[in-house]
Symmetry: C2
Subunit: 183 residues, 2 copies
Amino acid sequence: MALRHVVLTVLARGDKTGYEITKAFETVYSHFWRASHQQVYRELGRLSTDGRVNATLVAQEGKPDKKIYSITKRGLEELRQWIVAPTQIPRSQYDMLVKLLGCNTVGREQFRPEFDRIRSISEEWLRMLRDMRRECLRQREQGWSEHEQVLYLALRRGLLLGEAQMRWLKEVEGYLDSGKLPD
Amino acid sequence: MALRHVVLTVLARGDKTGYEITKAFETVYSHFWRASHQQVYRELGRLSTDGRVNATLVAQEGKPDKKIYSITKRGLEELRQWIVAPTQIPRSQYDMLVKLLGCNTVGREQFRPEFDRIRSISEEWLRMLRDMRRECLRQREQGWSEHEQVLYLALRRGLLLGEAQMRWLKEVEGYLDSGKLPD
DNA sequence: GCCCTATATGCAACTGGTTGCATAATATCT
DNA sequence: AGATATTATGCAACCAGTTGCATATAGGGC
């Protein structure tokens, strides 16, 4: 039921259309939440029938109508309850680790290209986060809203975990290259 | 399609019953893969009809029959192809981050107990991984098989990421306590 | 004139994971 | 004697995410 509450969280900050919510997932929230537009619209439909959001149809000339959603009192109430309720910790499952376990049967060299591919994607990802951080800090001079402060904390998480991941990949590389294991 | 290949990976190391595979997920693989027994049995059924594994029924006295599964040539072939094929990078979505974003509307203090709960779970988790590491290193004197070497690398990943997570939680704590943000 | 992108919305089918329930025997604890 | 845990297997319903497809308009580039 997480997406439901993520959408409520976004709407708690202000009214938005489904399209705007989708765009938000693709940009500001992209490094810690992902959702397709189909998911978003379906969820908005459910929230609407449950009375958690209200939709206002706005006619536009030339363009198709758009629906602006706003959170209701009951929606806010549900969000509040979710925030204080115990969340399940996410289960970390990581394909590459399984591949590493399996590559004894395939042969190490066979696995090498896939490993390199994953590492370069991770590097690229980390580079992007560092760029985002620099951009954030530059905008800090104009002052940060509470929302921007928390977004920065989210970014910090990405950076700390991403750097740990890179350190681990270096350890794996050492193992694949020369069989050396870390302490 | 990941579980399918995880099961194949486990069976590539030797024949096992569904029950043994389930137990393996609960113990050695617990910190990087999770699967319920229902999932395991369903997947074994599929792999069986697809000719990727063979099942041998073994009658037992008193106890119900058990089925020992072994990987077939076609199963090994599929595993090999999966290992070298590009994997999708996992999407990280983290409920707590959303709660942090949402708690502006709830009030910070309301969120505090849930934050503390998550932090103590994370601490417990890290402690468990450290115990596992100590145990692993103690057994190292008898020598490690290739499989044990990779399991240790898996453990290293848990440790590095877990420690990064703890550092981040400290940053969040500082923010919740005094509004201080890290650089 | 044709293609692509952006805006704006949504249905339908499928896949994978979760939850609930069911069966059946032995061993062990109280 | 009865309760609980362990071994061993599985179905069925449900829920969430993915993929494919569909519609409709406006504007810009080739």
